[in-house]
């Protein structure tokens, strides 16, 4: 019961998040291709996957937080060049913040779910 809810939230967060992020860039007047952006945001999630696997085998909350922080920084760093070049420089932060927010919430899910 509980596992299926967690799965639903994680899946919805990632799927809807990728679409919304892409729409966000398009609405801000940026130039990206819809499916390219979806696929890129998916691939940039890989470091967080690695982090999640490591956290699965750990129990200590502090260690989990460190692992998640490192992989989160790595994911954001991977997505940064693509997103920032897609929009007007004066709107860079507006396009990047939601990406960061999504990865942070995924990271939070990793830490919180045992």
């Amino acid at each position: 019961m509980f596992q299926s809810e967690v799965f639903a939230v994680a899946f919805a967060l990632l799927a809807a998040g990728a679409v919304i992020l892409t729409l966000n860039v398009l609405l801000l007047g940026g130039h990206i291709i819809f499916f390219q952006s979806l696929s890129l945001l998916g691939y940039c999630l890989f470091p967080l996957d690695v982090g999640a696997l490591i956290c699965m085998m750990e129990g200590n909350v502090i260690l989990k937080m460190i692992v998640v922080s490192v992989t989160l920084a790595w994911s954001s760093w991977a997505a940064y060049p693509f997103m920032s070049s897609a929009v007007n420089p004066s709107r860079k932060a507006l396009a990047l913040y939601p990406v960061f927010l999504m990865y942070v919430s995924v990271g939070f899910l990793i830490i919180a779910i045992d």
Binding site: F2, E5, V6, V9, L23, N24, L26, L27, L28, G29, N88, S90, R91, K92, A93, L94, Y97, P98, L101, V104, S105, F108, A112, I113, D114
Partner: protein, 282 residues
């Protein structure tokens, strides 16, 4: 078919009515609303350009340069479906980073009352949407963290409550979507000038104060949490009320009632948040 349908950025109406006075109407403020379709109610009516068909006050607010697809033109079918394209909403995201930061800072000073003037010509939907989304995340994570700490301090079993996310999503998105809609309808009923997107913008930015308030509510002192909730609720409610007040005094005697109920509603939201997220029963 006119070029206006195929190219994204071409919002000009290729058309029938020579919109001579249109450019003059673009930077329109709330109190300047001229043409209305309701019987006169004390608002000054400025009829400029007799050949122009009467337009709703909200149209000139929520759509810049005459781009509203009206049924009288050849893009009638396209007009209805046009709402589902990305291009239809681009004008509402026409903000730079500095604009958004400016508006966020403005929302922290509730007693200035200048927010609506600043956003009258360029209301954005970026701020409201992402502030709500951030709020949902912050609310869910801080609420989880608070119950986690409370359970750990008493050495009890703790399980992640997934309903926090869905509940806070429902509350925040619902509040920012429904309350401005209802307010818009009420203001139309009283023939007061209003714009739907401006109301969304106002409500969205008014919720920004709750983000630092929730971060501060981590402190496990009950009285401190109530104080934070009260202060944040009061600031947010004053922000909405004062910004609304300056523009709807023309609604007649009931303006005070509207403003007061808006104020109380925002306070109620703050109390509900405090009760659900930060009242821990172990």
């Amino acid at each position: 078919m006119s070029g206006g349908y195929t190219s994204i950025d071409n919002q000009k109406v290729s058309g029938s009515v020579p919109a001579v006075s249109d450019p003059g109407r673009i930077p329109v403020q709330f109190t300047d609303s001229g043409l209305q379709t309701f019987p006169p109610s004390g608002v000054q009516g400025k009829i400029s350009g007799g050949a122009q068909p009467p337009r709703d006050a909200d149209d000139s607010f929520s759509r810049p340069v005459g781009g509203s697809p009206r049924g009288s033109e050849e893009s009638q079918g396209g007009g209805w479906l046009h709402k589902f394209t990305v291009a239809a909403y681009k004008p509402y995201f026409d903000v730079d980073t500095s604009d958004v930061l400016d508006r966020l800072k403005e929302s922290l000073y509730p007693f200035r009352g200048t927010f609506t003037e600043k956003t009258a010509t360029n209301p954005d939907l970026y701020g409201p949407f992402w502030i709500c989304t951030t709020l949902i995340f912050v609310a869910a994570s801080i609420g989880t963290f608070v119950t986690y700490i409370a359970h750990k301090l008493r050495d009890k079993e703790w399980n992640y409550d997934i309903n926090l996310i869905t509940w806070s999503a429902g509350v925040f998105y619902g509040y920012v979507t429904l309350v401005p809609l209802v307010l818009f309808v009420i203001l139309k009923y009283f023939s007061a000038p209003s714009g739907l997107v401006q109301l969304f913008c106002l409500y969205g930015y008014s919720l920004f104060i709750f983000i630092p308030a929730m971060c501060l509510s981590v402190v496990p002192l009950e009285i401190f949490r109530w104080i934070i909730a009260g202060v944040a609720g009061f600031m947010s409610a004053t922000f909405v009320a004062l910004n609304l007040k300056a523009h709807i005094t023309s609604a007649g005697e009931s303006w005070f009632l509207i403003v007061a109920s808006i104020f109380l509603l925002q306070l109620a939201l703050s109390v509900v948040l405090k009760l659900y997220l930060f009242t821990v029963s172990v």
